[in-house]
């Protein structure tokens, strides 16, 4: 593509698209006693804006984020807010964060930001804070308590003493399969803050935790891992309805551990393989998960997309709006008490794009 498409051009075309029903927007309708309490929010994550030099950025990842922002803007009814799930930049540089923030600024809604490791390890989130605010915080919305964690911290030794330069530290953390990496964690200080924060919330209040790392232990080799996962889960245990939404993994994953539903969101940039496809290692993928559809790696936006989350019942129902693949909806089944894919959960309902890994 020789010149980037302008917003005006996109919207001109989008009118026709919407009419043709090509925009994959469909609300998950759920019966709920008080319709005024229904709300939805959109989730865009893992943009990995990557700087080449000067004013050039990797076009592929730019397009993924631009498309997510444009489609989210066209949502009707409007979501209450948007969450950005982390890894806006690829190497945490000022040009990348600026370029990502510029693309995100086209969103017409209030946006909450979650820290990702690719944002953090160059300057420990200093410039990110100037753009987006605190690294961890909480807020309430229509009776739901939201907590945003910085869950990509690691051992002090690795962060402060291991590497000669900040650039080197960022590069080492940037490699997913880098044996010199270090496991993610929330850490003592933030867990203490979380304990105090949750003490003010009644156990009947629905709780949504927004995190970059999974708050579970899935596969350590690729840092699909949170070192203090059990301790965090223990803090969440007293609450009746808890949803954890995490980025980082660039694939569909979902799970239920006790009272906590876990949902991964997709990346706008690129998809990642499931850990089970690495033949040389042992890992654990939530058994519930129906893998994402991988139709056509030759299509630039294959297995990428953004999410639309309905919190009507206090549990999250997530619609994955994928550009090149069937829309996936993972909703909380109140009968079984766990999330399930609306179309594909049963083994006999799977289609080849989900099983050809």
């Amino acid at each position: 593509m020789s010149k980037p498409i302008s917003r005006r051009d996109f919207l001109k075309g989008a009118g026709a698209l919407a009419a043709a029903g090509a925009l994959p927007i469909s609300m998950v309708e759920l019966a709920f006693a008080d319709p005024a309490r229904n709300f939805t929010f959109a989730y865009i994550s893992d943009a990995h804006i990557q700087h080449i030099q000067g004013s050039k950025f990797v076009r592929n990842w730019d397009r993924g984020l631009i498309r997510a922002v444009a489609e989210t803007n066209l949502l009707d009814p409007k979501p209450d807010f948007v969450v950005f799930g982390g890894d806006l930049a690829q190497l945490g540089s000022k040009p990348e964060l600026d370029h990502g923030a510029e693309i995100m600024s086209a969103l017409r809604y209030k946006t909450y930001y979650v820290m990702g490791e690719h944002d953090y390890y160059l300057d420990l989130g200093e410039y990110w804070s100037k753009l987006f605010g605190r690294h961890y915080y909480s807020f309430d919305h229509k009776g739901v308590h939201f907590v945003v964690l910085n869950s990509i911290l690691t051992y002090d030794d690795w962060t402060f003493r291991r590497w000669p330069t900040a650039e080197q530290r960022m590069l080492e953390m940037a490699g997913l399969d880098n044996p010199n990496g270090s496991p993610f964690m929330v850490g003592d200080k933030q867990r203490e803050w979380l304990k105090q924060d949750l003490a003010k919330v009644s156990t009947g209040t629905p709780l949504v935790v927004l995190s970059h790392s999974p708050l579970q232990k899935i596969y350590k080799g690729w840092n699909f891992w949170t070192e203090d996962a059990e301790q965090i889960q223990a803090l969440l245990k007293p609450f009746k309805k808890v949803t954890v939404i995490y980025g980082h993994v660039h694939q569909i994953q979902y799970n239920q551990i006790g009272n906590i539903s876990f949902h991964a969101v997709m990346a706008t940039a690129w998809p990642w393989p499931y850990p089970s496809t690495y033949a040389q290692a042992e890992q654990y993928l939530p058994k519930l998960t129906v893998p994402m559809n991988r139709a056509d790696p030759f299509f630039e936006r294959d297995a990428t997309g953004w999410q639309f989350i309905n919190l009507a019942t206090g549990n999250a129902d997530i619609q994955y709006n994928l550009y090149n693949n069937a829309v996936r909806t993972v909703a909380f089944n109140t009968r079984t008490g766990q999330p399930e894919d609306r179309a594909y959960q049963a083994a006999d309902k799977r289609i080849p794009p989900q099983s050809h890994y």
């Binding site: 990557q50 700087h51 080449i52 050039k56 990797v58 076009r59 592929n60 490699g175 997913l176 399969d177 080799g221 690729w222 690129w270 998809p271 990642w272 393989p273 850990p275 496809t277 690495y278 033949a279 040389q280 290692a281 056509d296 030759f298 630039e300 080849p352 050809h356 890994y357």
Partner: protein
């Protein structure tokens, strides 16, 4: 001539045989050879891993390992296979070049380029032990 041969003593005959004896037969090799050859292979695998994370393979800073941690989802055990998008049965090296040209915005490697060999060696090494399923999508 027969007289000459008849005149060779056993010692002389033995000497002649030794002088003209062939070296060890060509297809015999030792444990040391095996170690050395495997070492050569692992060196190339290591080179392949370096290229897998080398931004100079393309022109935009993107590296293979970004989308393929530990070369996962490259599926060397399924090649050659029908690649829908190429419209024909293709070899893994062609897919490697597709990736270099497209997401990495770089130039094709020749099939016998040592860098291609190294990349293929690394990817296959990370997939060792998995049974062959050529043609599987």
């Amino acid at each position: 001539m027969n007289d000459n041969i008849k005149k060779l003593t056993p010692a002389a005959l033995a000497a002649v045989l030794v002088a003209f004896a062939p070296p060890l037969p060509a297809d015999e090799f030792t444990k040391e050879d095996l170690v050395r050859w495997e070492g050569e292979y692992l060196t190339v695998v290591k080179k392949g891993r370096e290229l897998f994370t080398d931004a100079k393979l393309g022109t935009n800073g993107v590296v293979c390992a970004q989308c393929h941690p530990n070369a996962a989802n490259t599926h060397p055990e399924t090649y050659p296979k029908f690649q829908k998008q190429l419209g024909r049965v293709a070899q893994m090296a062609e897919m490697v070049n597709w990736c270099i040209r497209n997401p990495l915005e770089g130039k094709d490697l020749a099939a016998d380029d040592p860098r291609m060999t190294a990349l293929l060696a690394y990817m296959t090494h990370e997939r060792r032990g998995v049974k062959l399923e050529p043609g599987k999508h």
